[in-house]
């Protein structure tokens, strides 16, 4: 089965998803990874974005450096829908190995652009073939032999520019952006684009309906990937120590963090860094460094993915029990085990929520878009220090590594919240403190930072049994009292985490609950469902544990569908325990095949339940 086509069930035709015409279709470029097709694809995406057309791009790439198939799909949607679609109307076939299957996946009326050198039998009469001498044009470009496979991709950029009516000036400016204004590569690539435009004009008769027109939908918007947005959020959250271990799809978050920190957090006079980023020897050490730094007063963070979360389990439990603030980003990919490193899932929610042995629970934030990646990037530190605990931010590969349009990010308005920290002056006034005493009745104790210059500042941190005074204890009553306080602290967390976003529709009987990267699919699926006469209200969770708004929603609707991108319906399970009295109303709509959920699949799955 190809990754460009996922269909299931007998009711596929029930939900119509057949866009056509102007600014309303999808393009998929099937290439070989390591061939430089990313330049071509992001150039196209950017040019369309700059023409004011709502676009989204998804890169389906292999866990490999060179030679395996990769697909990049670009969706144009005048109505602003940005979820993945199952079908693309236009195929750019640049990988002979997958061409037969890619062509078979085109819908009737679809377009296939392919190299004429392949001499492929054009055996589908219901699609349109356009051929270009791709290899010859790459050769004619003047590029050195080793660069030819790269510039070859510019042939399809040129062909699409002419066929769809993309403004060539926008292509050139996108190339300038991509190559940072370096005239050499811009000229070389633009030369190929222009040659392909000319060839298309002279040799191809357009007979398909797909084309683009300038719009004004992207005013003020930027285009960015989630890992970049998250890293930027961390920089503006005043992170001071980050420790990490390379793992797909989280690595680019740290790459971006490094880049932004270099630009924004280095003293231009002294060259001093107001941060440290450490590539650890493994994820165990990465979280160990983060916990050590958080304990010593830093705003500390790590970023990882599933296998790293497994290795971090031990330290996560220690941080929970010793109440050390820190932030853990999990850019979720497919598990179990190594799974598929370059495919998306929301498969780590259950494991992160309960990460650690014994009775352990962690606050999890669930960003769904670029603004939330940025916002949670800084807010996670405030929450970690306020609650003195680990904050998990569960992003995923789709959010993290794909490019998304977004409104610009809002500067954090409130000052950094460093939580309940006692200074030497406080200790002088108070005469001392007890590290794990619940002074304020919210379960959150006071802490001191190592180095606080007061003889009563020190306390002893241990993962073994401790009482309110932080002394070792094996007493049953003290053990239980501590766990009860931690439970109270978790109840306090419910009131502090980001609230869900709710869209209630008058007359709706159906409630939808989702989180994270499935949001664009839900938004469009609700439109499909409404066309079928099913009104839905929608609650998008932004954090665990849940709070009052979720409770009210769960108790209001007769049927609630919890939609998520994993196999077991992990959040569905958690929500059933959060609202046990209405657990029976909640139905799991879960799907996990490595790809972002499509709106059609979501609508279809709900329709099957509703009929």
């Amino acid at each position: 089965m190809s990754v460009t086509d996922v269909q299931r069930g007998a009711l596929v035709s029930d939900v119509l998803d057949t866009p056509a015409g102007v600014n309303n279709f999808s393009i998929v470029a099937a290439t070989v990874n390591g061939s430089g097709s990313q330049t071509a694809n992001t150039t196209l995406l950017r040019a369309l974005f700059k023409m004011g057309i709502p676009v989204s791009g998804k890169n389906l790439f292999p866990s490999n450096i060179q030679g395996l198939p990769t697909w990049f799909s670009i969706r144009l949607s005048k109505d602003g829908y940005i979820a993945r679609r199952e079908k693309s109307e236009i195929l750019v076939a640049m990988n002979l190995a997958t061409a037969a299957e890619d062509i078979a996946n085109l819908p009737p009326g679809g377009v296939c652009i392919l190299p004429s050198e392949w001499h492929l039998k054009e055996d589908r009469s219901d699609i349109i073939y356009y051929t270009l001498p791709v290899q010859q044009m790459a050769k004619d470009s003047g590029a050195t032999a080793d660069r030819r496979p790269y510039v070859a991709n510019m042939v399809y950029v040129g062909a699409l520019t002419e066929l769809l009516g993309i403004d060539p000036a926008e292509i050139e400016s996108a190339l300038n952006y991509h190559f940072d204004g370096k005239p050499g590569p811009v000229k070389l690539n633009m030369g190929v684009v222009e040659a392909a435009i000319k060839y298309t004009k002279e040799h191809i008769v357009k007979s398909d309906p797909y084309r683009v027109e300038r719009m004004n939908a992207n005013q003020g918007k930027i285009i960015i990937d989630g890992n970049n947005a998250s890293a930027l959020g961390a920089v503006f959250g005043g992170f001071t120590v980050a420790a990490w271990y390379p793992i797909t799809p989280s690595t680019s978050l740290i790459d971006a963090l490094t880049e932004h920190a270099k630009a924004l957090r280095v003293d231009p006079q002294t060259g001093e860094h107001t941060y440290a980023i450490v590539q650890a020897e493994d994820e165990i050490a990465a979280l160990g460094m983060v916990v050590g730094a958080g304990w010593a007063g830093a705003r500390a963070m790590t970023s990882t993915s599933g296998p790293g979360i497994s290795l971090m389990t031990e330290y996560a439990g220690l941080a929970y029990f010793t109440e050390v603030p820190a932030v853990v980003w999990d850019i979720m990919r497919m598990g179990p085990s190594t799974g598929l490193p370059t495919r998306v899932s929301q498969g780590d929610v259950l494991s992160c929520y309960y990460l650690g042995h014994g009775d352990t629970r962690h606050v999890c934030l669930l960003p769904a878009n670029m603004k939330e990646c940025f916002e949670f990037g800084w807010r996670a530190f405030d929450l970690a220090e306020r609650l003195q605990t680990l904050i998990f931010v569960l992003s995923d590969l789709d959010l993290g590594m794909n490019l998304w349009m977004t409104d610009p990010f809002d500067y954090p308005e409130q000052p950094m919240d460093r939580g309940k920290v006692l200074s030497a002056e406080d200790l002088q006034r108070l005469g001392g403190f007890h590290r794990y005493e619940d002074v304020d009745g919210d379960g959150i104790p006071y802490r001191t930072i190592p180095g606080t210059d007061h003889p009563k500042a020190a306390y002893f941190t241990r993962g073994s049994g401790h009482n309110a005074q932080a002394a070792y204890t094996e007493r049953a009553d003290e053990w239980e009292a501590n766990l009860k306080r931690l439970a109270k602290k978790f109840a306090t967390a419910r009131t502090l985490v980001p609230k869900p976003v709710v869209d209630e529709v008058p007359g709706a009987e159906v409630g939808l609950i989702a989180y994270g990267s499935t949001d664009p699919g839900i938004v469009e699926a609700r439109m499909f469902l409404e066309k079928r006469g099913i009104k839905t209200s929608y609650l998008r969770l932004r954090a665990l544990p849940t709070e009052d708004i979720f409770q009210a929603f769960a108790h209001k609707y007769a049927r609630i569908y919890v939609v998520e991108n994993n196999f077991d319906g992990q959040v569905h399970k958690i929500l059933q325990t959060e609202a046990p009295d209405v657990a029976g109303r909640m139905v799991s709509i879960a799907h996990c095949d490595g790809l972002p959920l499509t709106s059609r699949w979501i609508a279809q799955a709900i329709l099957e339940q509703e009929r």
Partner: protein, 347 residues
Amino acid sequence: MAVQMTPSSPNVNLIGLERADYKGKPSTLCKGCGHDSISARIISVAYDLSLKPTQVIKLSGIGCSSKTPAYFLSQSHGFNGLHGRMPSLATGATLANRTLTAIGISGDGDTGSIGIGQFKHMVRRNIPLVYIVENNGVYGLTKGQFSATADEGQKLKYAGLNELPPIDVCLEAVVADCGFVARSFAGDPRQVEALLKAALSHRGTAVLDIISPCVTFNDHEDSTKSYSYGKSHEQVINDFTFIPAREEITVDYEPGQAADVRLHDGSVIRLKKLDHSHDPTDRFAAMRLLEEAHQKQEFITGLIYVNESRPTFPELERLPDEPLARLPEERVRPSREALAKVIAEFA
């Protein structure tokens, strides 16, 4: 700042603290445990050097040794972490606050087995801390299994015969280019104190492998980690005096009889040159010394290797002098204008 050279009263040190101010909670280890004697040495040295307890952090892993930070320096923050994972805690803590003096306490199981990876990487990064391995060749808290530092041919009551070669903590440290490597014996308090003082003045990672007999599980007659074995077999490889930066150098040897190693903080290790004595500034000699001692089954103690030239990790990270943990908001949160500028790059 003028340095006070003499205490104001005989019962206090240069910062006006009494010996009792450096104590910890009562030990819960077995009576006679070598680890308790090491804790006593740490208390004594911290008092003698007038360390400010609030500016010290104590870190440990898991095991009998790792319990001991509770038994000294109560006025210092302590973190009894995870088994074999203390080096990563120390890495994070010393990055967050590079001004603190860090003391790490580990054991032979904690360092030699579960923690060997973190140990090597800590040394590789030159994390500024004194890392003490309280080495008894046996797992005490789980009641008498062999550790990876047990000598070949050793016998234990329940575990039987050890047929595997030992991991030499000092050799591993030298190989990873540790700038301060020493071995000592808990039954030799004078040497432990001298080495501890020197280690606390070293700028990067200082590894002290201290043979510390386990009186319950590994102090029998044919053990190479027992008190009696240590006392009868200890071979001191060098004799030295540690002279803190603020003290006048009063130890005098005849010309040619002594060599000085000047440490980063201005203090001096004055080595007395003996016949055939080991030169601790020679890394290859240090490796040879350790390998030969292993082959001849000799119990050597003393300063094995010292090299002050490697920059520490916070130095490599170009950190400011003030702790990252205490930087004010305006230094760690870029401005509104800075955000607008970055955003414009994505437009």
